[in-house]
Amino acid sequence: MNNYPTMSTVQIGDELPKMKKQASEAELFLYSAASFNPHRIHYDRAYANFEGHDDLVVHGPLQGSWLTQFVTDWAGPRARLLSIEWQNRASAFVGDELIFAGTVTAIDQANTSVELEISEKNIDGTLLMPAKANVRLAGA
């Protein structure tokens, strides 16, 4: 047994367990490599500075994948992510501590799904990516 939410246990206002991410130079490299993205702003600090960035930029889609992981870690392997969307409000840089938080904002019993509002913030509290997701919960 596990503690994943189900349609009978989930409640509006439930908070997802916070998740922290912090990517090193090597981790940004590995994501660039795994996503087949040679853009220099992610591994070449001098070039990132030349383009006006304070430091190596954390890939938007990497943060997107962290958002999906944040949802699926909470919902469990039998749940199904139905949709997710996020906006890129501000950049994250190598070494930044990034905090993911989220809340259940709606429950659709007919569709056995819930709506989540999610935020990714840095430790200054700056909102980097506001996001929304719909997930179909497992069980009944």
């Binding site: 938007g60 992981q69 906006q87």
Partner: protein, 163 residues
């Protein structure tokens, strides 16, 4: 009012296919490298028993890996100074900088290792807007992903902001 940032020839490209259709097989090792790089150790990506217990036919893959699975190998002759490639998907705009604005995804069917996924990307939207810092262009690239059975498995909308 004519757009000051979008040349007329670029506006005409709305609806145009920018890349694809490309068909690729979802490869275990590529998907696992992606999951490791994200730090997402969900057993449904690594342990077939766990994936089957969770209702998948076999190992599944991180949802957003789909975009990257479709990336075609390209010659270094086409590299630009910034490390990206010159390609036909570039839309001519009167702007100096393109930023990543966000993404919207809908997932319809599971994607598993071994699936043959076809992706086609279109210019779904292109318009000029007024913001606090002046005019900007909002550019939406929509990709539809179908599997070997013809099911639409997912759609993504990647939003670019240019000013």
């Amino acid at each position: 009012m004519p757009s000051s940032l979008i040349p007329p020839d670029s506006l005409k490209r709305i609806g145009e296919v920018l890349s694809g259709p490309f068909t690729v097989r979802i490869e275990l090792r590529e998907a696992q490298r992606y999951a490791y790089a994200v730090g997402d150790l969900n057993p449904i990506y690594f342990d077939e028993t766990a994936a089957v217990a969770a209702g998948y036919a076999t190992l599944t893959v991180p949802p957003l890996f789909l975009t990257h699975a479709l990336v075609q190998p390209k010659p270094i002759e086409n590299l630009r100074t910034d490390g990206l490639y010159n390609d036909n998907a570039s839309i001519e705009l009167r702007v100096s900088r393109m930023m990543f604005g966000g993404e919207e995804w809908d997932f319809h069917e599971p994607v598993c290792v071994g699936d043959e996924i076809t992706g086609t990307t279109r210019l779904a939207d292109l318009d000029e807007k007024e913001g606090q810092k002046g005019s900007f262009v909002r550019l939406v690239r929509e990709t539809t992903f179908t599997n070997q059975r013809g099911d639409i498995v997912a759609k993504s909308r990647q939003i670019g902001i240019a000013r």
